[in-house]
Symmetry: C2
Subunit: 108 residues, 2 copies
């Protein structure tokens, strides 16, 4: 479950990064500090499979791979950005609610 959440976190960050423009694999890797190669490949592949990300391969040696958001991916990225903004805004309130809940003896 925690791994799944982490995976979603990387998806959110990848979408946010690509929302500002196309990126090469190396550029994305640098932008997403701390992501493992496996998680990055997985995240990009899932986004590509869902039609959110387009993958361009230039037949250079070595091949140069670029990723960019499709129109569908752009609209998804906006949705996700709104949810992230809401979460940030509500973080303090949610944390206060949790502290109060955990401190309260359980009534039935």
């Amino acid at each position: 479950m925690i791994l799944d959440r982490l995976g979603e976190q990387w998806t959110v960050m990848t979408l946010a990064e690509l929302a500002t423009g196309p990126r090469r694999y190396r550029e994305l890797e640098r932008a997403l500090q701390g992501i493992s190669q496996r998680m990055m490949t997985l995240t990009l592949r899932r986004l590509e499979r869902d039609g959110h990300v387009l993958r361009h391969v230039e037949p250079t040696i070595p091949p140069s791979v670029t990723y960019e958001l499709s129109p569908l991916g752009q609209s998804f990225a906006s949705q996700v950005a709104a949810l992230v903004a809401w979460s940030r805004q509500s973080k303090t309130q949610i944390e206060a609610a949790r502290t109060a809940f955990d401190a309260k003896p359980r009534q039935t």
Copy 2:
């Protein structure tokens, strides 16, 4: 991971149901067809802990328990509703992308 997704599905449905007004435990159970008692308790508890749902206990015999969205929960429910609407709208496009992706031989 699938259980986690299922859990999120119930959270979304609970928020949608409570967005239309307060509900007693039995009413919620009826509205969320197929939910197990364990999953419903878990879902409501998590939402209550996060300050999204308020739980009222009337000291009748047996006690009557009512759930309603807090203002924070209402704003979260709107966010989630927007994401659900987007998902419904994009479902066909995403499924088409997946079919195309799975049919395509992998290029490097």
